[in-house]
């Protein structure tokens, strides 16, 4: 048994003329939480579906838990848990019935099934909703039910497709605590998200942009090694006007207003000094400081060709 849970090489998937996933290669260590960060339509779901054998790759090779996918997808199914983006359990069955059903599908018999369903309902705080139908649960309750169903057979690998998209911040925090608890017991977790704070919690992160892998590494190293310069600008009298000027400047990847200040992402030193000139020329009372990059800067940098292409149109 190797310590790599997933190895993907040159994975590509086309839908007609669209290359939804384009030449993605990555590897995921066992027992880690691996994040897929990317805007909508960047290929996160398609990649996850290929990893669990639901979609055939157009090109490339995939190995999950030692199984060649899609060839051995059927054998893999016993060892993975998958949580779909939208609620995919039964709205007209109660929480207990849903879990009982999933347990039967995985072949859990009599007493073991009862005990396991009981245990999961307690762990994921579902006991008080036991008799409630799936359709009448709140976003957070549904998500806990879906997680309980996905881990019911104790999978080695969990694939979670935007699990927190319909959940409030408190529930999101609780959910991540549960993920860390699972990871601590050795479960490998692959989770897609478009929330920066969630991406920050992952051990490893892959940023996808229009189907291509544009950054890969731990959140900390990605930020530290960002080959761009971040300027924090304060004291501006008219930040909107300055933003407009900066956006037209060559080498400025993005300008984000944060309160009264601006955060300017520049491609390189030359672009940064240009930007500084524009700022000082616009408002002499302002001051710009080079600061350390955060994950948001990494994300903007990784997906910036899209932004520039859009603004130059």
């Amino acid at each position: 048994m190797t310590d790599t849970a997933i190895v993907a090489h040159g994975v590509t998937r086309c839908f007609g003329k669209l290359r939804a996933v384009d030449d993605v290669s990555l590897s995921v260590q066992r027992g880690r939480i691996f994040g897929f960060l990317g805007p909508n339509g960047s290929g996160k779901s398609t990649t996850i579906r290929m990893l669990c054998g639901l979609l055939l790759p157009s090109a490339g090779s995939i190995q999950v838990l030692g199984y060649a996918i899609p060839r051995d997808a059927e054998a893999l199914r016993l060892k993975i848990g998958y949580m779909t983006q939208s609620f995919s359990l039964y709205g007209d069955l109660s929480v207990t019935e849903n879990l009982q059903f999933v347990a039967r599908i995985y072949g859990l018999g009599g007493a073991r099934r009862k005990a396991r369903v009981e245990e999961l309902m307690q762990r994921y705080r579902l006991t008080e909703f036991a008799e409630q139908r799936g359709a009448s649960l709140s976003g957070g309750q549904r998500q806990r039910l879906a997680l309980a169903a996905a881990v019911l057979h104790d999978p080695e690998l969990l694939l979670l497709d935007e699990p927190t998209s319909a959940v409030d911040p408190q529930n999101r925090r609780d959910f991540w605590d549960e993920l860390f608890a699972l990871a601590a017991k050795g479960t490998t977790i692959l989770v897609s998200t478009h929330y920066m704070d969630e991406a920050e919690r992952c051990h490893q992160l892959a940023i996808l942009d229009r189907g291509r892998l544009s950054a890969l590494g731990s959140p900390g190293s990605l930020a530290a090694e960002l080959p761009a310069i971040v300027l924090q600008v304060d004291g501006l009298a008219a930040p909107r006007r300055t933003t407009a000027r900066l956006n037209r400047s060559e080498g400025v990847l993005s300008v984000a207003q944060i309160g009264a200040g601006l955060r300017v992402l520049c491609r390189d030193k030359k672009a940064a000094s240009n930007a500084e000139k524009i700022i000082m020329g616009d408002d002499s009372a302002a001051h710009a400081d080079v600061v350390g990059a955060n994950l948001e800067d990494v994300f903007v940098h990784a997906t910036s060709h899209r932004l520039r292409a859009a603004s130059h149109r």
């Binding site: 639901l54 899609p70 059927e74 039964y90 007209d92």
Partner: protein, 366 residues
């Protein structure tokens, strides 16, 4: 190939049944559709024509012509609503739609009768509906005189109406109607079964579990077999109590035939379910199967009278075979063994359709 897992099949079948029972409208339809259809078809579809509005011109006005008219009306096929003086009156009345049959008795009625080579009387028919024409032709066979009354006996053809001597349509319709109702409900149930899970997103979860296509297909049809048999019982009961349809064959044979037909229809529905992407498409495909089933199976029109191509298409429809089985067992008292060709046709159809559905079903999204 792994053997299907029985607990898994039971789990899915049980889930399916539970969902079905929670869907009140569907539960209502299980009972409501057969009840309404049998009442509707039983009362409304009536090829046994009676009480046609008729006009009369009796130019002879003799004792014999009066007797002949009363014989005609005694058949109950016609009700004389207009009496005219010339045949032209009847043609006018027919054009206006007041009557669909006209009886003309010429003034030389009795001489014509004696001559025997000319028709003694004439019956005008609005033949736009062939069923009315057929009724009128039957009417023309009415004997004018009975033996011993002057020696002239019109050569009528004796119609020996067997199995349904009273010529009541319900007797012929009810056994076939079991099949029509089952076609509609069974095909639709399973046509929806997988599409619904796909539309609601359940399928994406289900196909990442170890469920096998065969298990899923079998589990999807099991609960509906029970429902199909409930509907068969309902139609037979209503047929027997309301329309006095006799069950001449063995009840076990009736149910065995129904079981085969239910399985064939459910399997057909599953094939549709693997073709359709949405419930709406599944519905359209079901109707695409349902209409030819009604028209080409021999339920509506006698199979022998259909064009060759229609017959060949009809042979591929499960309903055709079931109509033959059902009428044979219920009305003629035949056994399933005597109709084994039809029974085997259903078995083969069900098996093939189930295999097609299971092979077409992929545990993938593309």
């Amino acid at each position: 190939m792994h053997l299907p897992s029985l607990p898994r099949i039971i789990a899915i079948a049980g889930k399916e049944l539970r969902q079905l029972l929670r869907d009140r409208l569907t539960v209502g339809m299980v009972i409501g559709v057969p009840t309404l259809q049998i009442l509707l078809f039983g009362f409304a579809i009536n090829t046994d024509v009676r009480h046609l509005e008729a006009g009369l011109v009796d130019a002879a006005h003799t004792q014999l012509s009066t007797m002949f008219v009363s014989r005609l009306t005694a058949t109950q096929v016609i009700d004389i609503v207009t009496v005219g003086t010339t045949p032209g009156d009847l043609v006018d009345a027919m054009r206006r739609g007041d009557i669909s049959v006209g009886v003309v008795i010429p003034h030389d009625f009795e001489q014509r009768l004696r001559r025997r080579n000319t028709p003694a009387a004439q019956i005008l028919v609005d033949a736009s509906d062939p069923i009315i024409l057929a009724a009128a032709r039957q009417l023309a066979q009415t004997p004018i005189r009975v033996r011993g009354d002057g020696g002239v006996v019109s050569e009528t053809i004796a119609v020996d109406a067997r199995y349904n001597p009273e010529r009541r349509s319900a007797v012929n319709i009810v056994p076939g109607l079991i099949g029509v109702i089952l076609t509609l409900t069974m095909v639709l149930f399973t046509a929806m079964a997988i599409v619904r899970e796909r539309e609601r997103g359940n399928l994406e979860f289900l196909i990442t579990t170890p469920v096998r296509p065969w298990e899923l297909m079998l589990a999807k049809i099991l609960p509906y077999i029970g429902i199909g048999l409930i509907q068969v019982t309902l139609v037979l009961l209503l047929g027997a109590t309301i329309f006095n349809v006799p069950i001449r064959g063995g009840l076990l044979d009736v149910y065995a035939a129904a079981l085969l037909f239910v399985a064939a229809s459910l399997a057909l529905g599953l094939v549709i379910s693997t073709l359709a992407k949405t419930q709406f498409q599944a519905m359209q495909l079901t109707i695409f199967v349902f209409l030819p089933s009604i028209f080409l199976s021999g339920f509506m029109f006698p199979f022998a009278g259909m064009p060759r191509l229609a017959q060949q298409i009809g042979e591929f429809l499960p309903l055709t075979h079931f109509v033959r089985l059902s009428r044979g067992i219920v009305l003629r008292g035949a056994t399933l063994g005597e109709l084994s060709v039809e029974a085997w046709s259903l078995v083969v159809f069900a098996g093939l359709a189930l295999a097609v559905a299971a092979l077409r079903f992929r545990k993938r999204l593309d």
